[in-house]
Structure formats: structure tokens, C-alpha cells
């Protein structure tokens, strides 16, 4: 499956961002959740690096399923915990980090779906776009890098591991002064 370098870079950044968050959530999670999140996080980071290093999108269908399935499972868990009146069931998976990881996952799933649809159109060549110039590519990568950095950092700070690091009075320069973050 062929995609442009810019699209692959954005997908890789989103995958690495989601992977780092999922790995951070492992700390403090029950064993079953922790094992799943560990495998998911490592898989996301590995996939992100592989699609950057190789010039093609590897296992795109599996990546699409891997982006959507955790989101569905988390949503089901939250709904089940609410219906059963047992919020402790879903509590280990803190909302903010899981929500930000979900944003990355939705982005990956959406881009892959759009790419599949484009490639499925009859008579459509695999790639019709000329490679982007170095300046255009760098602008696209810079924008994505700043966005992923700005989303990943507060997500990590909101994990249990991040909270422990901050609970001695730090607010990350005032950036973490949000309800439910930093101090408990």
C-alpha cells in the first residue's frame, strides 16, 4: 500500500504518541489491562517506526483494527462500569490519557480508512501525487510534531506515574492546573 511520506509521518507520530501513552498507563493498571496495554503500546511504537523506516505501510488492515479495537473496548468498559454502578472497574484507565490516546487512534483509523477507500476506486492509480518539496514536508512534519508533543505531555502527566511525579507540589510550570491533574 503506497502513501505519501507526509501521511506516513503523521500516522507514525500518532502511533508513537498513542504507544507512549498506553505504556505509561500500564503503571498502576490491573494485570489484565496492563498486559493488553503493554502489548498495544509496544505494537503501536513498533508500527510507527517501521512505516517510517520502510517506505510502505505495513499490515494496514491490522493497524486499522489495532487503532479501533482498543477504543471500542475502552468505551464498552466505561459503559459497563456505569451501568453496573461500579466505577472502580474502569478507574485504572484514567480518562485524560485514554481520551488523548483515543484521538490519536481515531486519526490513524480515519486516515487508513480514507486510504483504503481511495485505493478501492476502480481505475485509480496507486499514487498520483508528486513528492512534496523538502520545505513543504518539513512544515507538515513540524506542525504534527508540535501537536503530538502538546497532546502527549499532559496525557503522560495525567497518568498515575505522572501524577506521582508531580504530587510534591509541581504543576509543570502552570500547564497542569486542570481539574483532576497534578495534585491528588
Amino acid at each position: 500500500m503506497t502513501t505519501t511520506l507526509i501521511i506516513r509521518s503523521w500516522l507514525a507520530f500518532a502511533a508513537v504518541g498513542a504507544g507512549v501513552i498506553h505504556l505509561a498507563v500500564v503503571i498502576g493498571s490491573p494485570l489484565v489491562f496492563g498486559a493488553l496495554l503493554l502489548a498495544l503500546g509496544l505494537g503501536e511504537i513498533a508500527w510507527g517506526i517501521v512505516i517510517l523506516v520502510t517506505d510502505r505501510m505495513v499490515v494496514p488492515r491490522l493497524a486499522q483494527a489495532g487503532a479501533i479495537a482498543p477504543l471500542m473496548l475502552w468505551a464498552l468498559l466505561v459503559v459497563a462500569a456505569t451501568l453496573l454502578g461500579a466505577p472502580a472497574v474502569a478507574a485504572p484507565l484514567r480518562f485524560l490519557p485514554m481520551a488523548i490516546a483515543a484521538v490519536f487512534e481515531i486519526f490513524i483509523g480515519t486516515v487508513l480508512s480514507a486510504t483504503f477507500r481511495r485505493l478501492a476506486e476502480p481505475g485509480r492509480p496507486a499514487s498520483t501525487r508528486a513528492p512534496a518539496s523538502a520545505v513543504r514536508y518539513l512544515c507538515a512534519v513540524l506542525a504534527a510534531g508540535v501537536l503530538v508533543g502538546a497532546l502527549t505531555t499532559p496525557a503522560l502527566a495525567a497518568t498515575q506515574a505522572g501524577t506521582v511525579a508531580l504530587e510534591h507540589g509541581g504543576t509543570m510550570g502552570g500547564m497542569m492546573d486542570m481539574p483532576g491533574m497534578g495534585r491528588h
Partner: protein, 136 residues
Amino acid sequence: MTKSPNRLLATVFGAVYLLVGLLGFTATAGVGFFATKGGLLLGLFEVNIFHNVAHLLIGAALLIAGLSNVRAAKTVNSVVGAAYLLLGIVGLFILNSAANILAINGADNVLHFASAIVLLGVGLGADKNVRATAHA
């Protein structure tokens, strides 16, 4: 050089980090070399002298590599990007501790993460035919 994303990025980031390293000294008057509480650069990014020196060294490495050739730029971008990714993760957990010898704060962590993503992404993703374009 403008045809190689790695050379362009290394040169621009190198110049910016050198500038940031120099500007950092305007915010670190009276701050210790390894002080865990530093001065605020641009009112946002906390730095101490060690942090400034690290910026200067990283900026110099990136600038030299960017002005040299594609292979050097690609290598330095990837190595510095990986180091920043590690620092971005570790930095989060050493805030407010004695191990915070770079006087890192939250804004620094965001910048380190963003730099890591961009440097690592371009270093690993762009200029695959590095042998053919080693002097592009």
C-alpha cells in the same frame, strides 16, 4: 541543501538551538550550573547553565551536520531525536526532584517531545537514498 529535509531541518534546528542556548544565559544570572530551579527563558521555558550548555552543544552538532552532508544530518537528527524522546519521558518523572539537573519544567517537556518527534521522524523517514544524495 534545500532538497534534503534532513539537512534543512538540522541546519534550522541547529541555528535555533544555538540561539536558544545563548539567550538562555540572559535568564540564568545567579542560577547554579546544576540548579534544579532555574530561570525562565521567554517567561516559559525553565533553564539552568547546564541546560544552556546542552542547547549549545546540540545546536552546534545539528548545525555542523546540516551544513556537512545528508548522511551526517540524518544520523545526528536520529540520535538527537532519540535522546530527546528519552529526555521527554524521563523529564516528566524527575520534575521537582533532586535528579532534575537540567531544571526541566512542563513547557520544556512539551518542547522536548515535539523536537524528538520531528527529529526522529525526519531522520528515520526522509532521505532514504542517502548514498545517492550524500552531498545534495
